[in-house]
Symmetry: C2
Subunit: 365 residues, 2 copies
Amino acid sequence: MIVDSKTRLAALREKMRVQGAHLTAIGPGSHMDWLLGFHPYPDERPCLLLVAPEKETILMPVLNAEGSRGKTDIEFHAWGDADGPNVALAQAISAIGATEAKSVILDETMRADFALLLLDALTGAKHSFTDDTLGSLRMRKDAAEFSTMKMNARIADRVMQKAFAAIRLGISEAELASAIQRGFSEEGAAPEFWIVACGSNSAVPHPQSGRNLGVGDAVLIDIGGRKNGFPSDITRMAVVGHPPDGYDEIHTIVEEAVQSALMAARAGVSAKDLDAAARGVITNAGYGEFFMHRTGHGMGIDLHEPPYITATSETVLEEGMVFSIEPGIYLPGRFGIRLEEIVILREDGPEILSTLPRDVYLARG
Amino acid sequence: MIVDSKTRLAALREKMRVQGAHLTAIGPGSHMDWLLGFHPYPDERPCLLLVAPEKETILMPVLNAEGSRGKTDIEFHAWGDADGPNVALAQAISAIGATEAKSVILDETMRADFALLLLDALTGAKHSFTDDTLGSLRMRKDAAEFSTMKMNARIADRVMQKAFAAIRLGISEAELASAIQRGFSEEGAAPEFWIVACGSNSAVPHPQSGRNLGVGDAVLIDIGGRKNGFPSDITRMAVVGHPPDGYDEIHTIVEEAVQSALMAARAGVSAKDLDAAARGVITNAGYGEFFMHRTGHGMGIDLHEPPYITATSETVLEEGMVFSIEPGIYLPGRFGIRLEEIVILREDGPEILSTLPRDVYLARG
């Protein structure tokens, strides 16, 4: 991932200035990827990018220092396994003039021990998380980010088609999941997640069990892979042999909820109004209690990131934001249906990244 | 993973009693796996197992509740995307009688926002991490854990042999890494990590670059996969065509360091004395400055977990502990050599899990 670190650090500092923050601390994860284009090997050894208003530095385990050296010209404060990180951390904080920092923005995804090591080193500092600074900056995607996500969406479309082709009577959810993982690998993408749920399992949004596909089973397939630093995420439905009783009515309602959200997704609209556009269709059809999750989530370097499309989020959608629209109806003991698109918000509305129809795939029984 | 949750929760509570701790909070990760045999889908939604002296409960995102319901009979305090976790967390803390908890043990691996959400809800509470409680309990492995790790070690041995067989002049580090990932997949294991570093790249312990294998290149291969909940971890060396100048001398020194550590690894010995046994060989040979990492790390559900075999660790090794012995010498600009075994400490010394010799593999140029 190649990023313009100088510009992104400057944008972060401007957000810090507005928030009155004295220090931002970032762990070896996606926030660091966005700022620097890489992150050191993440393990139990404390590793922090520390950004103060004037200077920045990296607290770096010496074991990972050399592997990271060619990727940034930011100064490292390295520490070895024998000494531990405390002395190097104090020096790092001092070197960027942050010893008196009272308002610290923490990467919410970093390990608890990293965060508390830092807070213990800064007496009396108050913490907040990155929502209004880095999180806010990361929501709007640039052209390079979009094209990588679009490529990943096309890969996921092809893998979904391979999954459809692999469906047959008696195949297990686990076997279908393996075919999906192989599909991503064959595309040069790392399989990231693979929810395959058939029959009544599909009525559980994040199921954790395993069974074999039977005639009349609905099959919910929610998959994603990752190539060149960005993920994909798509959910489609299949049925084996013939749909279960009542399937078509529910599929149509969920499809209408997707379309309602696509119509509502415009710059200037709040996330909660977008959620309401999808949820309203399902509630009006009498199934509101069976749609028990948010309508969507942002996607970028992270599979799930802001903006979250929830019933209560006041976040105002802007051009360039990328997020999922994924309403669902889950009928306990019967079946569940979720249809998911990833969209980028354009000036005139959402552009869908996938090219795959949302129709149910009819597999031979 | 099937575990005896009741026994393990009781063991945790006994450790909490000794430490004077009022509450232990565990995120959806390996500590929870060890205690409950599973963890809910880990995402940005706060999810915590809360263990007080008399009762326990789980703060659970409603989206993940049903998928977890069949796996434990612990009561859930569920919260939905629209409401957020605060009310459910307060109710959960109250339900287990922990409202006045002043000494809290935190899962050090949980997300920073989970940990600070909890600490903000417990006025005046002091925190510590799991080193003396869960971490300590997890260090000693039982027979079922050992046999799963042994199986994984055998898988890694076969994958390493496949990697050796795939080495040829001009193949890229990335292609060799792909062969390793395929190897684990073919064994039904999830590839977990794959360090492939040739020539001067091998002189960097955790390299992050890519090049093609040339004649006279040393190739460091450090790999692991995961099946049935436990990982593997093994490092071996190969050379393409012929070894680089000075290779054999350094390989012999690293091998002697491994053997010295194997001789020293006995119950009752401290981790730092075990580190010294390996490090002494390398220092005496004049290469001390080129062995810049610890001698090893514990392994269990986590690839890296206590005990850490460092120059300063006072941890006393006990029967049943599983850890790596992996000294290395890294000569900048030339080559690096690391040889790694995973061992379990038996009454009479260490048992090596791998069956693969530590000799350098000679690949045709």
